[in-house]
């Protein structure tokens, strides 16, 4: 994104103090905070009109789960990219939100530059991986691979390179360090990481559609994720 078209951000958090702090940080750094919301329903209502590039989403909302909000946002406003921010790092919640289409995940204790950088990268469509998220994704691929064959032989698999890179991210290495260790370009490392997320999200959508068909709910390919 260039200087003359500031990144449009929406902040969804039920904690007013935190919401204001994040909005102020973003505004000071030159981002355009187009909307804030205190709960999931409000977020879904506002998102269509506010047309944010990035939604900074807290997973702990009073009315809806992070997965529901993520899915709702993706359906209501597909252009918005979701960056999950959470305080407690509840593992299953984070994983579910990412599978539902969130592009990245950051703990709230992340330093300000790290956070601002994550918002910019999310706006560019780059996945934002913490070591925690990398471990969750690795674990999820292993779980899918180990799942009984009844779920279909189409469980997504990591390539050796992808697994290697995810393990490096999970042990705290930066993309730069990984690139130099593996003699790859920074961009290639980023693409590998992104691919793992894409496979999970695709698998998740396929599963949703299959579920919808099996239960006679088939309609739009989004799998019923209506706002």
């Amino acid at each position: 994104m260039s200087q003359h078209a500031p990144i449009r951000v929406m902040v969804v958090d039920d904690h007013p103090m935190w919401r204001d702090a994040v909005a102020r940080d973003l505004a000071e750094a030159g981002y355009d905070v187009v909307a804030t919301a205190a709960d999931g329903a409000q977020a879904l209502r506002v998102a269509g009109a506010a047309r944010p590039d990035v939604v900074v989403l807290d997973l702990q909302l009073p009315d809806m789960s992070g997965v529901e909000v993520t899915r709702g946002l993706r359906a209501a406003h597909p252009g918005a990219r979701v960056l999950v921010l959470s305080a407690s790092g509840e593992q299953q919640d984070v994983l579910d939100a990412v599978k539902a289409g969130a592009l990245g995940y950051l703990l709230k204790s992340a330093a300000r530059p790290e956070f601002l950088d994550a918002v910019r990268r999310t706006a560019d469509g780059d996945a934002v991986f913490t070591p925690g998220l990398a471990a969750l994704v690795l674990g999820e691929f292993r779980r899918l691979a180990a799942a009984p064959a009844g779920a279909g032989g189409d469980a997504p698999r990591l390539s050796e390179r992808e697994a290697e890179i995810l393990r490096m991210v999970a042990t705290g290495m930066s993309y730069k360090q990984i690139a130099s260790r593996l003699v790859l370009s920074h961009r290639t490392v980023q693409n590998h990481v992104q691919n793992t997320l894409g496979k999970l999200q695709l698998h998740n959508r396929v599963e949703l559609v299959r579920y919808a068909i099996e239960h006679g709910l088939a309609g739009e390919p989004e799998g019923g994720g209506r706002a």
């Binding site: 935190w18 407690s88 042990t171």
Partner: protein
């Protein structure tokens, strides 16, 4: 694991009054009683129509008594259907009417037959009020009602029906006992439900509170670091507490209620059973150490999990000792089909080539003894790799299949 908001509202509705619980627990018994009355009226009519006709001097009147019994059965079934009508007057009337019908036998039957063990016209139907008293008021009143009815029967037949009297007494006592047991079980169940609802609510509150505290600590950490000076120290402390609380919440919520002793980081060696390795290892999380785990529980034998955690701690201690307090470290837990892998990486200076072997040769390698030794005892392995200037990586591998068998074998190393 995850409590949806709004769940707490559902739990409120299950709170019923204890008396309500007792009543509802006896409902099946009341229904059985109604069935018993109808069946026993039918039985009495059948006997009168087939077997016993020769015993009656006035069969027409005996049929009239059967008709009254049938009417009374319908009446009491309707009356007893509503819990608020199961009162003294009704139960008393039930007993009086039944005894009256029983005693009418004396006027209808040949005295000879009555005296030689012929069934009274009411037959087993007379047990109805005994059972009603027992269900409503318990074992003592059930016995008293049985004594009244059996006493009248006894007098009527001049002692020829002792067997029936004893059975009636037993029925009154046992049904009363069962009714009370059912009520106690229902009360207990109600209490458990209430406790469960309360603890769920408490858990939800704790989650909310933890979340709020985490938010504030994260904010203080961030603002403190930016402000610098004394505030930076505050921010650093807030960061430490934030990481500690997050580890605690992560460990506690993972399997809340399933295995209570898991959250204790020090697992007694030799204790049996499986534990979730994630919950133990999460306790190593600080503001300098990031612990990353899969979303699914990593189940391991308790002893193996404790040893693996101890090895990980030894590796982290090593990082602190050799690279300084400020060095960051990452711990990754992986659950593979055939092994559990714990990787510890730091961003310190790393170990120059040859230094590791040199140190081992000099016999001063804590790494070698406490980490490699522990893993070898468990049937696993520890691999230390380092690139100078890029930190050190310690990989602990514990094979899944043999881990338990090897762990319990005597140590020979």
């Amino acid at each position: 694991m995850i409590i949806p908001n709004g769940c707490s509202f559902d739990t409120v509705t299950v709170t019923a009054t204890p008396s309500g619980a007792q009543r509802s627990s006896s409902e099946p018994l009341w229904r059985s009683l109604a069935v018993f009355r109808f069946v026993s009226v039918g039985y009495a009519a059948l006997r009168l129509g087939t077997v016993d006709q020769s015993e009656y001097s006035r069969p027409d009147w005996a049929w009239a008594v059967i008709a009254v019994m049938a009417a009374w059965t319908v009446g009491t079934t309707i009356a007893y259907a509503r819990p608020d009508r199961r009162t003294w007057p009704l139960l008393g009337a039930d007993l009086v009417v039944t005894v009256g019908l029983l005693l009418s036998t004396a006027l209808l039957q040949y005295p000879d037959a009555t005296g030689h063990g012929a069934l009274p016209v009411t037959a087993i139907w007379m047990a109805g009020p005994v059972l009603a008293w027992a269900v409503r008021y318990g074992r003592r009143m059930g016995t008293i009602a049985a004594l009244i009815v059996a006493g009248c029967d006894f007098v009527l037949q001049r002692g020829a029906a002792l067997n029936g009297a004893v059975l009636l007494l037993l029925a009154g006592w046992i049904v009363g006992h069962v009714a009370r047991l059912a009520a106690e079980v229902a009360t207990e169940r109600q209490r458990v439900i209430e406790v469960e609802a309360a603890s769920r609510e408490r858990e939800r509150l704790a989650r909310d509170i933890h979340d709020s505290v985490l938010q504030v600590l994260a904010l203080v950490q961030r603002r403190g670091a930016e402000a610098g000076g004394a505030a930076a120290e505050l921010g650093r402390l807030a960061g430490q507490q934030e990481a500690a609380l997050r580890a605690l919440v992560g460990a506690g919520m993972g399997g809340a209620g399933l295995r209570k002793s898991d959250s204790a980081p020090d697992v007694a060696p030799g204790a049996s059973g499986e534990v979730d390795l994630r919950q133990i290892i999460m306790s190593a999380q600080t503001d300098r150490v990031t612990v990353s785990v899969p979303a699914q529980a990593v189940l391991l034998d308790r002893t193996a999990a404790a040893e693996l955690t101890a090895a990980m701690r030894a590796a982290l201690d090593n990082v602190r000792r050799h690279c300084g307090e400020q060095t960051r470290a990452w711990v990754l837990v992986e659950d593979e089909p055939d092994q559990v892998r714990v990787t510890i990486r730091d961003d310190g200076q790393g170990i120059p080539d040859g230094r590791l072997a040199e140190a081992a040769a000099a016999g001063r390698l804590g790494v070698s003894h406490s980490i490699r030794g522990r893993l070898r005892d468990l049937g696993g392995s520890a691999i230390v790799s380092s690139v100078s200037g890029e930190g050190t990586e310690v990989e602990l591998r514990l094979p899944r299949v043999s881990s338990i068998a090897v762990a319990s074998a005597p140590r020979t190393a």
